[in-house]
């Protein structure tokens, strides 16, 4: 098993400093929808200038480099223990190189570890095994704190919103979450929604679904329709970029369904800011590629 530490450092650099093309394209179309001279348009123009500068200078798109969330698909026979060591070592180097801000704070003793490592849980690394001949893939998402703080979980039925245990109820609580978030999560945002599960895995799935591409729809037509409907209805709220008011509040919605207990019906909403940093690296034999 080869040492991939340097390749992972490069992977982290790209994730933190180079916004994926699908997100940038969507932001560019959003600019055109805002009135010339408006604060909303100014905000999006600044955001896009920032995207260019970050890419050119290899500096973080946002200073909050977030919780690093890794999803690793490893070929049978690879050591997850060693992969974990490489990822952690790479994160320390990436922090030294200022691609990442030291972001792990001990919640009990209020101490920043200084190197982005914190106990067993920081960074978050999820492993899945694949066939021995398959490629190793590592996906990374940087989930900032501002947008994480406006995420929400609802237990249905919710009487205050008149939300029952069906897709009609899901629609209501998701719209409520967007209205409550206002501009706090650096709108325009992307919504990750999980329906079902328990409290823990429901939230985890609502993030996992955010690894998908902008515009990619759920294969279930009913969920795909709800995804599109939520995006367009959220945009009638008038919250706009940064909450300045405007046309674009949400640029995409992704929903995933799970199984639940008969007694529970959770809807989890993860809000991702416009700085939607997520990338994938693939290792097959000697070949390493980044997308």
């Amino acid at each position: 098993m080869r040492d991939l530490t340097n390749e992972i450092v490069e992977f982290i650099r790209r994730t933190s400093t180079d916004l994926p093309a699908d997100v940038e394209t969507r932001l560019r179309t959003a600019v055109e929808k805002e009135a010339p001279g408006s604060a909303a348009r100014g905000a999006l123009e600044t955001v896009l200038k920032n995207v260019e500068i970050s890419r050119q200078n290899s500096t973080p798109i946002c200073q909050d480099t977030g919780t690093p969330i890794f999803y690793v698909h490893y070929p049978e026979g690879w050591s997850t223990r060693r992969l974990r060591e490489m990822i952690r070592a790479a994160l320390v180097i990436a922090t030294k190189k200022s691609y990442m801000r030291p972001n792990a704070v001990d919640a009990v003793y209020d101490k920043n570890s200084g190197n982005n490592l914190g106990g067993e849980d920081f960074p978050y690394i999820h492993f899945e095994e694949v066939d021995a001949e398959a490629a190793l893939t590592i996906e990374l998402m940087l989930k900032g704190g501002g947008c994480e703080n406006v995420g929400a979980q609802y237990s249905l039925p919710n009487n205050a919103l008149g939300a029952g245990r069906d897709l009609a109820g899901v629609r209501k609580v998701v719209l409520d979450a967007v209205q409550k978030a206002q501009g706090q999560g650096c709108a325009p945002g992307i919504l990750g929604v999980a329906i079902g599960g328990d409290r823990g895995n429901s939230y985890a799935k609502s993030k996992e679904v955010l690894f998908g591409k902008i515009g990619e729809r759920n294969p279930d037509p009913a969920l795909a329709a709800l995804e599109e409907r939520l995006t367009s209805e959220a945009n009638t709220l008038g919250i706009g970029p940064m909450g300045f008011g405007g046309q674009t509040t949400v640029i995409d919605t992704k929903i995933t369904g799970m199984h639940r207990l008969p007694a529970s019906y959770f809807v989890s909403v993860s809000y991702m800011c416009w700085a939607y940093r997520r990338r994938k690296m693939t290792v097959l034999g000697e070949q390493v590629s980044y997308e």
Partner: protein, 208 residues
């Protein structure tokens, strides 16, 4: 676009109204959760005795802050080893967490404004009327862009709070912001919140 050179006078601050874009230049200090809690407990409420270099830092802040602004920001900083600090990424952080402290901190240090994102609540809005002061909204996430307007890092206090939480003294030029809370009691945030609530209620009443 209006330009303001810090420190700002009361007249300059009173002339600002919600919705106006402004370019700020001059010296400012970053401070967020740990800094606000520390200022409040140690110097304003005095529920905690000063320790270490607390009093020394306080004296420096008393010179730096009047007429100036505090920036809610946890930057990425290069040059930590050599102490030749340079801001690499420095966008705003969510301001509402400082709501319990902000009005008191503004008053105590005669701060003329706050830069952050997401806006603040009623207590700070009242503080803005009294001090007078304004809330400047920076563009959340525009970290590399804003870092370019930071020309120089003049110093740092309380680095033991961690790099994001320390108080960094910086010199900026043409830092782009929008006034979203002014000294006349207006808040863009409460307007948008009320309007969007009304639309939400209409959406919730629609059949699936």
């Amino acid at each position: 676009m209006r330009k303001i050179q810090l420190p700002a006078s009361d007249e300059e601050i009173r002339a600002l109204r919600v919705g106006e874009p402004v370019l700020l230049s001059g010296v400012m200090v970053t401070g967020r959760d740990a800094a606000h809690k520390w200022m409040m407990e140690t110097f304003i409420k005095k529920t905690r005795a000063p320790q270490g270099d607390d009093l020394q830092v306080y004296e420096e802040l008393r010179k730096l802050l009047p007429g100036n602004v505090i920036y809610h920001c946890g930057p990425v900083v290069a040059g930590l080893d050599t102490k030749e600090y340079r801001f690499v990424a420095a966008g705003p952080t969510t301001s509402i967490r400082e709501e319990p402290y902000q009005a008191d901190v503004m008053k105590h240090f005669n701060l003329k404004g706050v830069i952050g994102k997401g806006g603040m609540g009623a207590k700070t809005l009242k503080g803005c009327q009294e001090t007078p002061g304004v809330y400047f909204h920076a563009i959340g996430g525009a970290a590399s862009y804003i870092a370019q307007s930071v020309k120089k890092v003049l110093g740092v206090y309380k680095l033991e709070f961690g790099v994001p939480e320390a108080l960094w003294v910086i010199e900026v030029q043409d830092f782009p912001v929008v006034v979203t809370m002014d000294s006349h009691g207006d808040s863009q945030h409460s307007v948008i919140e009320a309007q969007s609530k009304q639309v939400l209620d209409e959406l919730l009443a629609q059949p699936y």
